[in-house]
Symmetry: D2
């Protein structure tokens, strides 16, 4: 866990895919902030929004022959997210053999130019019987055009 503050700012992410989320009351906990388990849901929202943007929505459907199952997740919580904070979740992704790597970083207006949280998830493609599947060509094609940041500062 790298505790030094990343040198990047939100403006450096202007070419990354961005999904926004308003923190709801039902997402808060007794500490008055968004419960830490919800960050994995924010990441999922952004991931599904990215798939939809690229007309890849079926790959997140339970009836699909190819579903992106989560095999690992990690989150670094730097600052809290309060009720009605407007979050911006940036992501990037790449494919390594059969494994999909997603990286996320979250900003809110409350903490200027400082990421409030970041993390990663890894996925493999499964069919409806939980058997590993090769990614379909149209998904691979889209992924080959995605950028991956070699110097991504939000290491875990």
């Amino acid at each position: 866990m790298n505790s030094s503050r990343p040198q990047w700012q939100e403006k450096d992410l202007s070419e990354h895919f961005c999904h926004s989320h308003l923190v709801q009351f039902y997402e808060t906990d007794a500490m008055t902030v968004a419960h830490h388990s919800n960050y994995l849901r924010f990441f999922e929202e952004a991931r599904v929004a990215w798939l939809r943007r690229h007309q890849l929505g079926p790959f997140h459907s339970p009836q699909a022959d190819f579903v992106l199952a989560v095999v690992s997740s990690s989150v670094r919580y730097q600052r809290p997210a309060f009720l009605l904070d407007q979050l911006r979740i940036y992501l990037e992704l790449r494919l390594e053999r059969l494994k999909f790597h997603f990286r996320y970083v979250i900003f809110s207006d409350r903490f200027q130019n400082e990421a409030i949280a970041w993390g990663e998830t890894q996925h493999i493609g499964l069919d409806g019987q939980f058997k590993v599947q090769r990614p379909p060509p149209e998904l691979v094609q889209v992924l080959e055009r995605e950028k991956w940041t070699e110097t991504w500062p939000w290491s875990l």
Copy 2:
């Protein structure tokens, strides 16, 4: 992420704290398994149960002067958990300066002698105004008696 299978089995954890959880219907998702965000909730349940076991319940109360805030989490999902699977969540923890390290590993009857998931969370003590606090002596005392497994096989 270490993909080799851990050599330990559930019986090697007989001296670790164990919390059990029955997978509920409302925890399942459209893939018919417990949604991956719920594993952070299973870890939290086990963590709070450990605190209660040691009469340290107040440290997880929002009115307390010392609350264990989550600063990072990571989970490795190896096998799915289905509706009504009875999960056993084992944990161990230690204090490093001001940071609490918790490790977890989950077993279910469905997959014999194979952990279905494992992970870690790190915490710091905060007061009600989100200021970092030193852990109170009674908590430190309990932690000094806790074991920490140098060869814990479920690395992330």
Copy 3:
């Protein structure tokens, strides 16, 4: 909505099915109490526990040919439930033609002899394609032995 206080006490429910639930931190909200949507989850936990008690577990499985889909729900929130409150959810049920009626009432130690919440859910049996199904004979048989309280005081 009947605002007069029910005359029954918890001891009057000694022959009713009871499921217990410890309020978790992840179930609290920024008002420091269990979020109101969780009561439908507490009801579901009790309902599934009742089915399991009667070896009717398969009827709550997504692979089953007969699933109890919720067609309506209602909840009356009388007193809050705080972190680590031990809740006791009592239920009763009956079948009216094709519709299952469940009633619930919740007590906690914090509010002596006063229900903190109560409610109802109604269900119909569906198959995997969301088509209405007649209840299987083994379920009807169990239901015929269930009691239904004509003077249930927790009206909505």
Copy 4:
């Protein structure tokens, strides 16, 4: 529970407040549809959005002196909501003495001109110590301008 189909259509609600919600994967359950407890969260999202629209956001903050606590809820589930269904939640509300009445009806593109669900919640104003409070004048003023449908067809 009125089972006859309401005569109103979505176009009859053009003057009602509307909040939209995209069904997320983490909201689905093993029946592949949005879990029934989430409808209370959809209602809450719409309610908070209405408050924000009228610059009444503070009334849903835990630090506020006046919070709208839920005292009852009811939902009628007519049709399922699937992953990525775009929901439109219409609401109306009125104040009766100290109690706020909210009514909701949900439409999706999947089921044309047929509400998929509807319901009600009732609320009272509480301060931070859970004591009942009179609604502040600026809230009463806004409420007096709200319409209330005498012939609202989605009765429960």
